[in-house]
Symmetry: D3
Amino acid sequence: MFIHQNRLQYHARPSKPDPLYARKLQELIGGQWGEMSVMLGYLFQGWNCRGPAKYRDMILDIGTEEIGHVEMLATMVARLLESSPVEAQEDAAKDSIVGAVLGGSRVEDVILAGMNPQHAIVNGGGAAPSDSNGNPWSSRYIVSSGNLLADFRFNVTAESQGRLQATRLYALTEDHGVRDLLSFLIARDTMHQNQWLAAIQELEADGLESTPCPSSFPQERELGQVAYQFMNFSEGTESAQGRWARGRAPDGRADLEYVADPKPMGEAPELGQVDPRLHGTPAKPVPAST
Amino acid sequence: MFIHQNRLQYHARPSKPDPLYARKLQELIGGQWGEMSVMLGYLFQGWNCRGPAKYRDMILDIGTEEIGHVEMLATMVARLLESSPVEAQEDAAKDSIVGAVLGGSRVEDVILAGMNPQHAIVNGGGAAPSDSNGNPWSSRYIVSSGNLLADFRFNVTAESQGRLQATRLYALTEDHGVRDLLSFLIARDTMHQNQWLAAIQELEADGLESTPCPSSFPQERELGQVAYQFMNFSEGTESAQGRWARGRAPDGRADLEYVADPKPMGEAPELGQVDPRLHGTPAKPVPAST
Amino acid sequence: MFIHQNRLQYHARPSKPDPLYARKLQELIGGQWGEMSVMLGYLFQGWNCRGPAKYRDMILDIGTEEIGHVEMLATMVARLLESSPVEAQEDAAKDSIVGAVLGGSRVEDVILAGMNPQHAIVNGGGAAPSDSNGNPWSSRYIVSSGNLLADFRFNVTAESQGRLQATRLYALTEDHGVRDLLSFLIARDTMHQNQWLAAIQELEADGLESTPCPSSFPQERELGQVAYQFMNFSEGTESAQGRWARGRAPDGRADLEYVADPKPMGEAPELGQVDPRLHGTPAKPVPAST
Amino acid sequence: MFIHQNRLQYHARPSKPDPLYARKLQELIGGQWGEMSVMLGYLFQGWNCRGPAKYRDMILDIGTEEIGHVEMLATMVARLLESSPVEAQEDAAKDSIVGAVLGGSRVEDVILAGMNPQHAIVNGGGAAPSDSNGNPWSSRYIVSSGNLLADFRFNVTAESQGRLQATRLYALTEDHGVRDLLSFLIARDTMHQNQWLAAIQELEADGLESTPCPSSFPQERELGQVAYQFMNFSEGTESAQGRWARGRAPDGRADLEYVADPKPMGEAPELGQVDPRLHGTPAKPVPAST
Amino acid sequence: MFIHQNRLQYHARPSKPDPLYARKLQELIGGQWGEMSVMLGYLFQGWNCRGPAKYRDMILDIGTEEIGHVEMLATMVARLLESSPVEAQEDAAKDSIVGAVLGGSRVEDVILAGMNPQHAIVNGGGAAPSDSNGNPWSSRYIVSSGNLLADFRFNVTAESQGRLQATRLYALTEDHGVRDLLSFLIARDTMHQNQWLAAIQELEADGLESTPCPSSFPQERELGQVAYQFMNFSEGTESAQGRWARGRAPDGRADLEYVADPKPMGEAPELGQVDPRLHGTPAKPVPAST
Amino acid sequence: MFIHQNRLQYHARPSKPDPLYARKLQELIGGQWGEMSVMLGYLFQGWNCRGPAKYRDMILDIGTEEIGHVEMLATMVARLLESSPVEAQEDAAKDSIVGAVLGGSRVEDVILAGMNPQHAIVNGGGAAPSDSNGNPWSSRYIVSSGNLLADFRFNVTAESQGRLQATRLYALTEDHGVRDLLSFLIARDTMHQNQWLAAIQELEADGLESTPCPSSFPQERELGQVAYQFMNFSEGTESAQGRWARGRAPDGRADLEYVADPKPMGEAPELGQVDPRLHGTPAKPVPAST
């Protein structure tokens, strides 16, 4: 069960409205790596967790925090949209050069061209559960697999892609209020990258999971001869120079081997026929079925 | 530019047809973590790579290999479907008990209930670019961010989720031919987990990336006071017991701190008004706009 | 900002596992009208609300409650899945008749045919953010328009469709634990239908919104002559018998009129030509462009 | 069966082309609340209707009308696109200031920036079945539940959101032809809101449906103690001030009650384990499965 | 503008209910190649048509007919669902062997396993605008390009894939009523394949379009040297044996040439760097940006 | 199995960066008719092919070539994005008029308005697997039906729509490098249209498929009386003037007939009732179910 507190986790007030930037900031709300994804991803992982209680509690701690992150970003977007196109047009009219060049309905068009039109038409000046191109958020952006190592690796990724996007959005604005919120979110992403990396260490220390994931599958059932081979499928051998092509494998279970010219181990496939009533094209003409 | 070789990378021939299993196996082709995802994810990452040549070449090596993995799985699915519902019905009729109980059109219904109906109606006995529920593959399953650490972390995840699903599918069949192919794919996933983990080590050794990702963002710009705090947003303090709540952070830059009762740092938000011509509900009644 | 309490809002424990029912129950989690939709719809409406504080607070009350509803349903689904296909097969083997008829790997197939295969392969026995056919939840299931009357009408709909689906799911099981949870959810849907209907009354009492919605658009700008006409576009005149075809309109602003044989008021459209470099087919042959 | 008449239901001719506005107007064609949604939603509701004939006939009347609304909007969009980017560029060149500043290929870029690029590249100057951001229309925008009250409530919503968007689009243009068509559509939305509200009255008068919907579910099966309680899950008690927190419930069956500090009624959930062959992370280490 | 006639274009009454077949038949309503696709594809092509009037009128003739095809299929599906799972269970109970083996809630599970669960939960016994796996119809299934040859080729495809699926569905039932409707739809698909092939002939006879499409692009602007070469990118030379590898090209403008061993004409790509504030991984370490 | 060659099939270097054009060019990568669609469509058709070897080999030849087309376009997009918004702003500042008018952060906004914001935020200056509006590529853009005639007709369409879009994109740029690549792609589309048309001739010459497709369905099972009738469902008789309304049908099996006033052959549908526990609205009031 959840309780809402009225105050925000951090400040979310821009210095001034900016509908063009509001569109871009949507990526952090409803994009593939936006806060909706970490919020819902972590909540489902927590609710489905069958591992030790400390993991479940930790996952729900951060999942609950992320609801508040969506709240701050939605508040920020709503405030960035408080300057309507109409007011912007009036401001522009006061600036004679811009007014001369962009006059008439032109300035509104330029702003609306850069705006997400749905911010006006659909959301009436509010945040949308969508990305910076107006694509809807999809639950296929998240995962809850029941295997904590597999999922914590996803979570490290999400915090990395998310922090990367936040730093890009930091460079795309000079608004102090927006940068203030981003500096908070970027810091939390720093913590959360560390947190999930630490959680992976803990899983290994607890003897619950290790590489290769899932570690509970008996490795003698996999085809051992290709389990540590790097195969060079792209012309050129620059790839022979990396750590992935030599030395002990990171899982510590074998040495890596470089295969410069990989060969097919299978046959050229030739498919058989199926029921003629499916009317597929057969290998040679057949009489009509009934 | 690419060249196709006629032979498969490994064998892809089931012991006998099994349209019910064909549906399940689709998860490895067109699911969120299927081979289409790693194939297309790695190819786009390689084509977009601006880092050193050894990385680009390595990424394209594995991306090219994955095209051949989709090929093997598509071949396997096409062969699992070579027993049509009609033939299955005739086989069932020969078995008197099943025939008595499930007779008439019933056996076909049971098989079609478990089948993906689109395998018959849409694909005519061939593999579909879809998952085990018939959902289409979407390019939102992949990422190519331009930051290799962020993307390699995604790739470790993809190989973990993919190997996890392959081991589950291994448990759901006893067909020797299917298990033979899965033992190959699981082994390659072992290699590829190791490969991406090694590539992360290489990025760090080359001084190109480190935690927190992206490492090129000046960390003094983030809000330092919350960058290493674990916040306890879910009742109960089991989460205080983990590695994530104490000691040196995995990035080695600070100590982790446990905040048992996090407080809001922001204000209760109150939004202003927008252009009345958007006809949103205002804080108090206003005259009609024009 | 949000806080999670460890205890559930209500009980969520089935009498026994039932993976077939788990699939169906997913409709209430990630379906078009599932709890994810009301949770996220209300949260966004609350965060975007520019109306009086009582509305914003009320919307966030219910939005926060709904997070806990998703939590209960996810818990229920995870428990319904605790009987794995493998155990079910062993149970079946003990029952000689079923064993004889469905023996071998058949029973697993029947269960998996009815299961969502992704519950095993993707979620490893946990709930998915998807509907009963495995389709992902999409943020296009919700709306936050900035106009409270338009959105409260949506919310009445959501609670009606949601309660309808819950009563259907009630009929599809006899499990006491599942029915217990459904009796709670159905009761809350009763309250929430009443709540949104009351909120619509409040909006009207406060003079903020009325029919036709949005009430702030000056009605003299619409084409008055067709604003209260029922038009009979389908052969037969049964539609003349309803309340919609006669008497005072519900908005109280005019009388309704029945138009038995509506006539086109516009012309037959004929489109002009566009830039030949778009290579559309023109009304008559033209020389090639460059 | 359907028949097409050549003349449009109303005029659909803009005063002049405007590709930037054409993009915005797409929201009314293929958006979540566009005319495709009401057209197809009503048609499916009508085709599936098992209620009295007058309802079925009425639903198909309006569903058929809506096909013609899509037709008018598609015609309008095609005409708004008759000025190609190339012609616009030539017009701009004649205006010396604009020509100086925006010259070269710049003006085309500005127009194309505001345009939906697919209007040129994909549709060649025609309307698309998409929204104002180019997202495809999805049949998940509609519902046909078999319960007329649940669906009529959806229809009231659709006419409210649709009319709201049309009034916003009215404010975003000064083109007389466009406004003429919008004044027609807005008027029809006025009628259709009234129509569905009247239809709800008729359902209740006929004794077919009432609140809570569905009324045919025996209310003694729901958990009565929470069926009329307003629960305050968000800090602050502004929500105590509304109609939803006191007095007779709109369904007339009980009094509403305000619960200021709702308590969890369920337990803290703890999940059991599942088949180890799903390789989920268990509560404590287990030996590898086979 | 459109008018609805009460009678169906053809009969749509099954001999008996069959909820399992209802699921499959959905492919013809809301699948990629279902009747919704041809209905909406042709309507948009007609509304956007800038070619001679005979084409526009012809396209709208068939588009209007297709609305009635969706209507018949929706009616058929609603009738196939008139046997509820509950009634089916009672029927099964009368058959002692089935009753013994499948007794209890088992038969309902088998039927619901094969059913689309949303037919019960979401649509309450009505047709859905979805395919046979419950995926929503998407407007990306259709096209309206402004070029009639490109679109008529799509239409020939749609009528081919649609007829193919209808013949497969014909083989999957023995119900006389269902087969009667399918025999009508298959015949209309025969006509419509012929119709679009004839329309392509007409376009060519009118001098409006020809191969290569679009014919209005000056062919001297394409790279002539590769415009008629068949390139052998897959090992093996079976492809040299086909009509596509020799003789006059179907467009009659050149001879086809077989290139057995195609060579890359471009260089190995090496990308430059982008703004460091995007925090992509560069070719060598750089100092942190600000 | 596949091998990657380092050199591109053709040149892919623009004369200068152009982030606005990069967005548009995405249509050819990840749009409905982009190169991802032909690449993956042909690969799946080839892998599923049960027809003679020459067809399978030919299909895989072209499918493999198309991987290299995506590679060239991705390279081109990455290079078009090498001018960051920041550099563009500095360039603009040097031009005093633009600087004066668009100064401050305005020029960045104009460029970002026209850019796909995800090119910066998500992809960091790389190509995305999306279309020109940022919609993800979906596997529902392709088909693999098992019937080669049905699929080759789709392929002719794909090459027509693709070539059409490429010629439109040719008109939207004057960059010599971009036009050079487009001239190559347009030429290959010319070849591929010819190739698939030739393949259709070959199928017919081999006696494998003919019109109506699928030709293996016994035509006496379709309702002969409507199989060659053109039905005039749209007012006006312009459609009587075309080839589709008279003369021998293109399949050579019957004469076409024009039906000026088509009549319904079916009855007015009236649906029966379903299980009351689905709580649909019935034809008359019923007591509550349990």
